[in-house]
Subunit: 329 residues, 2 copies
């Protein structure tokens, strides 16, 4: 079998998850890893796969069929995405929803210039949750969407707590409010405020002598991050944090509540939910499936930026259309 050769850019949680996801697919192979660090300092899990400096990436265009960009959306991808799309077919998990309308055309222009296919904003939100929202709204046009996140670790909120004076370490969980989910599932189409949809739970390690009451108040009143939520703060030791909160679980729910009939008298509920042991490992499994799709499209002569909305589900599979119809339809 002609395997799709994948290159990884950035070897953090997402990069390692991608390396593991490639091992689970018979039709893709890890070709190389690109890093900003000194390549000789980086030990990856797979034997006999070279690690190169990101600065040399242009010299490896012929070693890679699809490049999976595992950097962050804040500063890495806005630069790397358009730059690398000109040289390679790429997949990224750009997740700054508000900036997608400017990121997409930048990547699109570069990918078209290079004759490559680049699928942006791949993952579960944006990604699988977006697909669930789209299918739901197309099938039940008279209806309402609800997205709940969690229970899971929010990296951004954990970071925000860590920046508070007196905090040594912290982990924040986003938790959907069960009563709100049940109200949505009942078909009552409730209007829900931010506070009614999610609560936030924080596990904080305070530095010695720090003012815990002040830390708690700063967290609970932090604008955007916590002020609009019911937030609970638990102070624990570093040992407890390491022991009980080292995982990166996440998940959530997309629910479409809609009505049909002569006067909307028939109610329907469509629900898509995820319960993830590891957010980065699940996200990278999605990235690898879309890498397969990008390469198929590229071989068909397509080019330009795409999103999950543009990819036929069959393109994610290593199986033929005939096999899929016989076994999965």
């Amino acid at each position: 079998m002609d395997k799709t050769r994948i290159g990884i850019v950035g070897y953090g949680n997402l990069g390692r998850g991608t390396e593991l996801a490639i091992r689970q697919t018979p039709d893709t192979v890890l070709s190389c890893v690109f890093t900003r660090r000194d390549p000789s300092s980086l030990k990856i899990l797979t034997d006999n796969v070279p690690v190169y400096s990101i600065n040399d990436i242009e010299n490896h265009k012929n070693d890679v069929d699809v490049l999976i960009l595992c950097g962050g959306s804040a500063t890495d991808l806005p630069v790397q995405g358009p730059k690398l799309a000109e040289m390679f077919c790429t997949i990224d998990s750009f997740d700054t929803h508000a900036k997608i309308p400017e990121y997409f055309p930048a990547v699109d222009a570069a990918a078209k210039k290079g004759g490559n296919v680049s699928i942006i904003s791949v993952g579960w939100d944006p990604g699988m949750f977006s697909v669930a929202r789209l299918y739901g709204s197309c099938i039940l046009p008279d209806g309402k969407d609800y997205t709940f996140w969690g229970k899971g670790v929010s990296q951004g909120h954990s970071d925000a707590i860590r920046r508070i004076e007196g905090v040594a370490d912290a982990k924040q969980y986003t938790i959907p409010v069960e009563a709100a989910i049940e109200a949505v599932r009942s078909g009552s189409n409730p209007e829900l405020t931010t506070r009614q949809k999610h609560t936030r739970e924080c596990f904080v390690v305070a530095k010695e002598g720090a003012d815990k009451a002040k830390i708690e108040s700063e967290i609970k009143n932090m604008p955007n991050y916590f002020a609009d939520y019911d937030t609970t703060v638990h102070f624990i030791s570093q040992e407890e944090l390491n022991r009980d909160h080292s995982g990166i679980p996440h998940g959530g729910f997309v629910i479409r509540s809609g009505q049909t009939g002569v006067n909307g008298e028939t109610k329907h509920i469509v629900e898509y939910s995820l319960k993830l042991g590891s957010n980065p490992e699940f996200t990278s499994s999605i990235l690898v499936a879309y890498a397969r799709a990008a390469y198929k499209l590229h071989k068909e002569g397509a080019s330009g930026a795409k999103t999950v909305f543009d990819i036929p589900p069959a393109y994610l599979s290593p199986k033929s259309g005939e096999e899929l119809r016989a076994t999965m339809l």
Copy 2:
């Protein structure tokens, strides 16, 4: 706006549902209805829409952009599907899973000959459930699929009971076993027998003087339909059946349970579920969304048979790619 003109073939539950679904979309319009009955005897819900005999369908090729075939899979579609695909872009809900491998090429050849796009086996199973199974298996290749149906009315099983001697009327519900669903959700990847996954509940109206014990025994021991299930039988009056069991609700669950990590140590659960007030109204809402997709593909020059696996999600939407990226990604 240039509306997609839809023709309906067959005006039963699915045809009526399709008529209602078209009303909910701003970009499609019901052009005409084709029936096997005397057209003058058929009163449809929409004013000023003509009803024609199915025998005259060839004369109306220019009145219709996409034809939605609302006949049954047992005898109607195997004949109509290939025949009409040569004249029109078509959508159908062919749901005999085992016969899809022969139905697809028959429709494909006809659609290609006519230069049309025909999307077959559209609905929720096959259809949305198939898409959920496909996404799940591509994202978590190391895992297991589970499909549960219900609680809902099975038309085929209700019909089978009605054919028993002494039965005046009947309704059968397929019910998923909650304990089995919970076992799957726990990530334990259980092996489940037919009996462990679903139970069957029957509401039966016996004819006067009929032997109820014999009817109950015949139901419970009917091969394929009931013998492999725990089945309960309730005898009720026709009035009770009409009052309490006239709806056609359905639903179900597709769950992908998979693992990632170095040694499969990380568990993930992906769940897609439906709770439908009316099986035919929901199914026909899906048919109309795919009619939109078929017409877009046809305008792009595509032809041949397709399934839900081949259709990019964006094609189901009346919105542009730019709008979708800005609002739904």
